[in-house]
Amino acid sequence: MANAWKIARKSNAQLPLVIVIALAVVLVLLGKAQIGLFDGARAHATDLMAPMLEKMRAPVAGFDRWIGSIGEIFSVYEQNLKLKEENARLRQWRNVAITLQGRVNRYQALLHAVPDPQMNRVLARVIGRASRPFLQTMILDAGRGHKVLPGQAVMDARGMIGRIYLTGQRTSWVILLTDLNSRIPVTIAPRNVQAMMTGDNSATPVLNLMSHTVTLHAGEQVTSSGDGGLLPAGLPLGTVVSDGAGGWRVSLLADAAASQDVEILNFSKPPEAPPPTAQLPAEAAGLKPQAPPPPQTAAAAPTPVVAPSKPKPAAPAAPAAPASDEDEDR
């Protein structure tokens, strides 16, 4: 083969090479200025590949599971015992969580708390995964046709996996929390420490604290803070772990490598509406509700000003009493 290569002709295209190198440099700079330069082509290519990926999904997932289970064969019995014990503990915690959720709902009603934003969920299937040096992503079988939009959070049963960053008509790409380009504002419970969780292509993203005076403890819970309004607050992310060098990282709850079905959260903050009269704290305490304000018309405007000083307006108060009874009955 060496002889065959020796007789190869020399290229006489030196000038195009210089031009092509210049073009490549321009492309890199254009990509820096406009990060979504190839997004349309990527989304189109993924849409085209989607049927093939869906067909290959089952055998590849089976092979993947088989490879992953080789090392676990010898510890099945111990794992089974451990899982049973963990399951029993989790059932206890589930009951506690249900009780506490009910209490939180009652407190929210009493305190006129702003209700949590409504979230639509789209269930999607993972049809592809890619782990490249500069990108860790997964591909879902839901796209713009299913009202999936860039920025939406992707969750599995345990916690958040990542965010949608590119959508085709039938597919979408997820940027994982571990990816180099992922940055999520987070809150660390129980002291509500604010931090930024930054991916670095390792399994445990880095925590960059907003304040340098706070100290963290391993095992504290990390959730999304909702800052910026892009993600809902309170999405479970993981627990704090030490990196051994004085810094802190997050051990993620979700396992992006094993997730097969995920939820895409369509989060949008609803405008704050005035609550119905029956939910006001005064009524909840058994007090008489205020009479509703009269309509704002030019002719009737002076009337409410003088109404309290006259004894006659007691008559309109009569119909208000049954109304309050009705409210209390409700």
Binding site: K6, A24, F38
Partner: protein, 183 residues
Amino acid sequence: MASLERTTVPPRFRYLIATIPALCGLLGAFIANIPISVMGGLVPAPLLALVPVYFWCLVRPDLMTPAVALMIGMAEDVLSGGPPGIWTLAFVLTYALVARQRDSFAGLASFAAVLGFATAAAFACAVAYFSVAGLAFLTPGASLPPVPPILGELAMTVLFYPPGTLAVGWLHHKLVGASRGDV
């Protein structure tokens, strides 16, 4: 060396055969970037598209031109999903290196040939890494990309070079080489 002799390839097929190096590069980019992980994401995909670029840059630079290398690099960029232009620049600069040192690379055989390709692949990965690092340096708050993933990609690329070069070598001897000088 019968394959290097002028043969009577029908004229209508000559231009079709001339596209084989480019098609092989595009096919390599496509196969390597099928988003399927068979090892739980532990093993990165190799740069399969670099094998035909390297091979035909040495053997038939008239067919593997800088423009073709640019096109294959762009395909790798589109399909891999990384920052735009990174692999385009890496492929074109690697092409320039191999074209400049063609005599040195072409004289290598057996294990030394693998080492020669490993050098070219290491250069491509280094260009890609430092390009991304440069972009990260220009972006406030961005961190440098970790080194182990790109080393893993390099190792997988070198590992896939022997079977890859066997495949493109077979195509070259059966189709491309036979039309040497005719195109």
